[in-house]
Amino acid sequence: MKFWIICLALVLGSLGLSLSGINEYVFFAGFVILQFVVLATAWNILGGYAGYVNFGVPAFVAVGGYTAVVLFKSIQAPILVQILGGGILAGVLGLAVGLLTLKLRGIFFSIATVAVVFILETVVMNWRYVGGATGLQLTRPADLAFFDSYTRMLFFVMAVLAIGSVIIARYIQNSFLGRGLRAVRDSEEAAECSGVPTLRIKLIACVVSGALMGVAGAPMPMYLSYIEPTATFNLSYSISALAMPIIGGTSHWMGPVIGALLLGTLQQIVTVTVSNELNVLVVGLLLVFFVVAAPDGVLGLVKKWKQSSK
């Protein structure tokens, strides 16, 4: 009950924030941080619960983004339809990658997801309709409902998506799916022997995780008024989406949220004040530090600290 009240409060809070008069930049940066909340939460459904590492986050993000572009360019679809379409296609991609590699050991799944990034990037590069290698300029529609600017509306949409994905992750964690996925992570053979339908639940997790990443990527073209393959398919998405849950803690739905908020904010600060290269370096260093020194992330540290202070 408490959880649902907090969710509702957050939705209303972000609505109030986006209607208030504060600086536009807050929404511009906030959008990116909230997008990482969705991506980290989505990554954690497969990576954290089941132990299958997805390196191909940008592929799913780009499927969302480019689906949105196609829908917008062809039928002028509104943003919600774009998001829905992006989510569905990214989910289908998740199913395809899952069917191909989830029977194999984890590392093959990881490598296959990297492969999907490069294959899709090459396809998009050669696809004229969506702008090919040079990209495509998009004109935002004037339709804003009652928001002052399009960025403010997108901020609110992304806030709702972030809260929605956390609700889904929490549901999965507490349902038979979450228990099954954890069993898969600890020992796939033992899980299979105990009657857990391992392949089926891995596929479900893969589809949900992929669809959420597509949903996170779909508003991107409208947010930037522009889409371009090199930036969209950048593997930096992968390292962030992987580092955030690991830094926050992978075993609980709160971990990716904490990681995304911490690291996302830090990234915004470093990118603005120093440079984007240093930003990736910071993420890499923090990731390596955490997997080596604090494998259970911030959540693990808090737990340890609570236990020792008792």
């Binding site: 132990g51 590492v53 984890g106 490598i111 490069f118 050669n126 990736v280 370096l281 990731l287 390596v288």
Partner: protein, 290 residues
């Protein structure tokens, strides 16, 4: 435009390219194929080897010789890296999959960004007598730099194949890949053997890095495309087979070269990744796997 002669030329160039791909994949074939370490930082270390070669050869030393000089340093680096990986992940056991992959992925990014911060994003090249000129036989031209890569790749594969089949340590490395606990029962220390193998894998990567910058200009983000090429070759070969690596490299080289010639350069990056996906779907144990 689509003539048999062009196709033949593409295939011929593909053979040279393929040997080069085999050379850059040999280290991964040992580390991932034999030892089962999720070594996704391999391509990043390869590019690092290229930049180290660039530094040494700017003193006026031949790039290939620079690569050879780097091998002992990379050997120690590889031993250290494995020791660290063993102590922090393999020894503790549980959940090594996610964290091990995250560790090497993080290392790859750190190397890439460090190279950008030190050298910038510009392409770097090296100079040597054999770079820039070609051997002409009839109508065909073979660039000497590719022939050099071809020769070194063949030699490396030969040396590694002999090492793994004839020497005590080499056989022990193969054994540790097959059954670690059995090796322990034979009185050998699997950790030491793996450490040695990882050192060899990384040392080979130093020489491969020298080849990479001999074959063409190098930039820091190049490791990303080589994730596809190296893993494609290793999976195609069937994990851990040295001669299989050579054949797999040749296949990739020829396919990539023919695609380059027929569809154009913009499709080339997808070839290795596409081939990799096809292999994973149809025959994940590789062409020569058990």
């Amino acid at each position: 435009m689509f003539s048999l002669e062009l196709l033949f030329e593409a295939a011929l160039f593909g053979v040279l390219l393929g040997c080069f791909y085999a050379a850059v994949s040999l280290g991964l074939s040992v580390a991932f194929g034999l030892l089962d370490v999720p070594y996704v930082a391999h391509p990043a270390l390869l590019v690092m080897g290229s930049y180290a070669t660039y530094l040494i050869s700017s003193l006026g030393i031949d790039p290939l010789l620079s690569g050879l000089l780097l091998m002992p340093i990379f050997f120690l680096l590889g031993m250290g890296l494995y020791r660290f990986y063993y102590e922090t992940f393999e020894k503790r056991g549980s959940d090594a999959g996610v964290r091990g992959l995250g560790f090497f992925f993080g290392i790859a990014f750190i190397i890439e960004v460090a190279l950008i911060l030190v050298f910038g994003v510009d392409q770097r090249t090296v100079r040597a007598g054999y770079i820039g000129s070609s051997l002409e036989i009839g109508d065909y031209r073979f660039p000497y730099r590719m022939l050099m890569a071809f020769a070194v790749a063949l030699l490396l594969t030969l040396v590694l194949t002999i090492y793994f089949s004839k020497t005590f340590n080499g056989r022990a490395i193969k054994a540790v890949g097959q059954d670690e606990s059995a090796l322990r029962l034979m009185g050998a220390n699997p950790v030491k053997i793996k450490q040695l193998a990882f050192g060899i894998a990384t040392a080979v990567n130093a020489l491969a890095g020298a080849l990479l910058i001999i074959v063409g200009p190098v930039e820091p983000a190049m490791d990303r495309i080589y994730i596809g090429r190296t893993f494609c070759v290793v999976v195609l070969a069937g994990l851990g087979s040295m001669s299989g690596t050579l054949v797999a490299g040749l296949i990739l080289g020829v396919v990539e070269s023919v695609v380059l010639m027929t569809l154009g350069a913009s499709w080339a990056p997808a070839v290795s990744f596409g081939l990799l996906l096809v292999m994973l779907g149809l025959r994940p144990q590789g062409l020569f796997g058990r």
